[in-house]
């Protein structure tokens, strides 16, 4: 002790003490954060992504979804919604919500793909939920069975999204959006997570093979030709009737005006 006591006013002491404190704090932090990083690892995300995602969450999402993602009267809880739900909502521009209405609409995307995956990584740590589908699974649609996809689509999807995927009306101002813009990953995520009014079509009843087939059907619906001419939104009799009455009868009216006009 005499050795230490004699040197306690040495100029190097302050430096050594600072170093020692730093090491101790770092070690303690590593021990504390080990539990959270394990949780993150379980969903295949690294700690820096989660930390970044948490920051982005606090800045852009916490106002509505709550500081602890517990939800408020304006927005649902995000605990257990999974990374797939986050990627779907944010990558389609539905979130951050532009304004409170009957339903969030597809819009301009606010976050970069990297930021979206950070956010998704953070929300995945809040509770177990559907993960983002693997690119290899989603890309399987290119070789999937379209006949099966068409049958599944007409049984499970067409009642809301229209038989040609052009969308349709629901109750109280809600609507099923058109499927003409969603990416294959987004379609997969929508089936998996059931965004907003849409029910969940889980992997057990609509298997990944079925999902690939449905996606192929949707992707090819977009490029199908129109043997009869104008597709008019493929909404059926409503737009066809409107076209007939406004354009068809309009042209007939102009023709009758011409027929009745006096010549000089």
């Amino acid at each position: 002790m005499k050795f230490l006591a004699a040197r306690r006013r040495h100029p190097a002491v302050a430096l050594l003490l600072l170093l020692g404190t730093l090491v101790a704090v770092t070690a303690a932090w590593a021990g504390i954060s080990a539990s959270t990083s394990n949780a993150a690892a379980a969903y295949g995300n690294d700690q820096t992504q989660v930390t970044k995602g948490q920051q982005l969450y606090a800045e852009g999402c916490a106002t509505c979804h709550g500081v602890h993602a517990q939800g408020t009267q304006n927005a649902p809880s995000l605990i257990g919604v999974g990374a797939a739900a986050v990627q779907f909502q944010v990558s389609t521009g539905r979130m951050p919500l532009a304004n409170l209405g009957s339903q969030a609409a597809r819009g301009p995307v606010t976050y970069t793909p990297q930021e979206i995956s950070d956010l998704a990584a953070f929300v995945a740590t809040l509770g177990p939920g559907p993960a983002i589908p693997a690119a290899a699974d989603v890309n399987g649609w290119t070789t999937a069975d379209r006949t099966l996809g068409g049958e599944l689509f007409r049984t499970n999807c067409s009642q809301c999204h229209n038989f040609a995927g052009r969308g349709g009306a629901l109750t109280n101002g809600k609507w099923a959006p058109s499927l003409m813009h969603a990416t294959p990953t987004q379609i997969w995520e929508a089936m998996l997570t059931g965004p907003q009014s849409m029910p969940v079509f889980g992997d057990a009843t609509i298997t990944p093979t079925d999902k690939q087939a449905i996606i192929r059907h949707i992707m090819e619906l977009r490029t199908d030709s129109n043997p009869g001419g104008l597709e008019l939104g493929r909404f059926g009799p409503v737009t066809e009737g409107l076209w007939g009455w406004v354009v068809g009868i309009g042209v007939l009216l102009l023709l009758s005006v011409w027929i009745g006009a006096r010549v000089r």
Partner: protein, 359 residues
């Protein structure tokens, strides 16, 4: 009053032969038949009436319309044979469309339009456009004619003896009263009358519930909260194979939805759900459209045909629209292997109402 006078006849013939304006007017006043030139309307002559060159030009224009129409129809024949049926072509505004359909439609439509335009142009530029008035006689006949008609009717009644021969009159009324019977009675033979088939479906005790299209069995854990499954009875594919129709599918189609048990406010029977999984008919009780527009947040089921809305969290009762009855619920449970099965048939007939319904 008619064309008996030869000079009148000639005047009318000249009407059809490019007569001049005064001649036309004169001809009409001479014949004194049919429409007469309207008095008090000032008639203005067209350029083609006074200028021979202008009339010739109009004639060439009409001939051009008819000629182009003929070309269109020849184009139709060429397109019919020349364009392969499966060839598509990009048209602005319309997009990708069948080349054959587009060409045939355009050629036929254009040809018909050109014939019509030629005819109208002809009528407007070259045919007579004198304003004419035709008087109509009164519809009501004069007093003499009416009196004579009434007298004939009275005389007919007297001669037939309908007034005083009572047996004859009554037997005729009797025969006429029974005449509709042979016409109405055969309507009873119009097809089989609804018996049990409207009241029963393929569902029975222990019938496995399978996913529609893929026909795989379902475990309760396969359906997440908020999930929707369009399902049918496991026996359906073999029944369809045997009957070659979709009648049984039209009655037995159901949807499975899952909510948190706390969200279910009421059901049509005690514990007809299985751990929050509810099975409801997919067939609207209004006119029988398939309804599976299920909103997982509100638990509302919407029918796309007439917007009937059912609340599946509240025993499927109607919350909006023309449907009069709630959506029938199917009681379900799991079998020994853990697959979802029905606990029996629907307790009430599914689909739209019918006269013989008792519930």
């Amino acid at each position: 009053m008619s064309f008996s006078d030869k000079s009148d006849k000639r005047a009318v013939e000249r009407l059809l032969d490019g007569a001049s304006e005064p001649e036309i007017l004169a001809a009409h006043s001479v014949t004194n038949v049919g429409p007469q030139p309207a008095s008090g309307v000032e008639h203005t002559l067209r350029r083609t009436d006074v200028d021979v060159e202008s009339a010739k030009r109009a004639e060439r224009q009409v001939a051009m319309f008819f000629g182009l129409a003929a070309l269109s129809f020849i184009g139709f024949v060429v397109a019919f044979f020349a364009i392969p049926k499966d060839k598509t072509v990009y048209l602005p505004v319309i997009g990708d469309t069948s080349a054959s359909n587009a060409a045939l439609g355009l050629a036929m439509g254009l040809g018909a339009l050109l014939i019509g335009m030629g005819a109208i142009h002809w009528a407007k530029k070259l045919m007579s456009d004198v304003e004419l008035v035709q008087e109509r006689h009164e519809i009501k006949p004069d007093a003499d004619t009416r009196a004579s008609a009434m007298a004939q009717i009275a005389e007919g009644g007297l001669e037939s003896g309908l007034g005083h021969r009572k047996v004859l009159r009554r037997s005729l009324i009797g025969a006429m009263a029974l005449f509709p019977l042979p016409l109405i009675l055969p309507l009873l033979d119009l097809g089989p009358r609804p018996t049990g088939q409207l009241k029963h479906t393929l569902w029975s005790k222990g019938m496995p519930i399978v996913v529609d299209v893929t026909y795989q069995k379902i475990r309760p854990e396969d359906i997440p909260v908020g999930g929707l499954v369009d399902a049918v009875p496991a026996v359906l594919p073999s029944v369809e194979e045997a009957t070659h129709n979709l009648n049984d599918r039209a009655k037995a189609a159901i949807i499975l939805v899952r909510m948190r048990p706390g969200e279910i406010r009421s059901q049509q029977g005690p514990n007809w759900d299985y751990e929050g999984i509810l099975a409801y008919s997919k067939i609207c009780t209004h006119v029988g459209c398939p309804t599976s527009l299920y909103e997982q947040r509100t638990h509302h089921l919407l029918c796309p045909c007439h917007q009937s809305t059912f609340d599946l969290a509240d025993s499927g009762k109607v919350v909006f629209g023309p449907a009069a009855r709630r959506m029938p619920q199917l009681a379900i449970t799991v079998d020994a292997e853990g697959y979802l099965v029905a606990r029996g048939d629907f307790a009430q007939p599914v689909g739209p109402s019918f006269w013989e319904r008792t519930s």
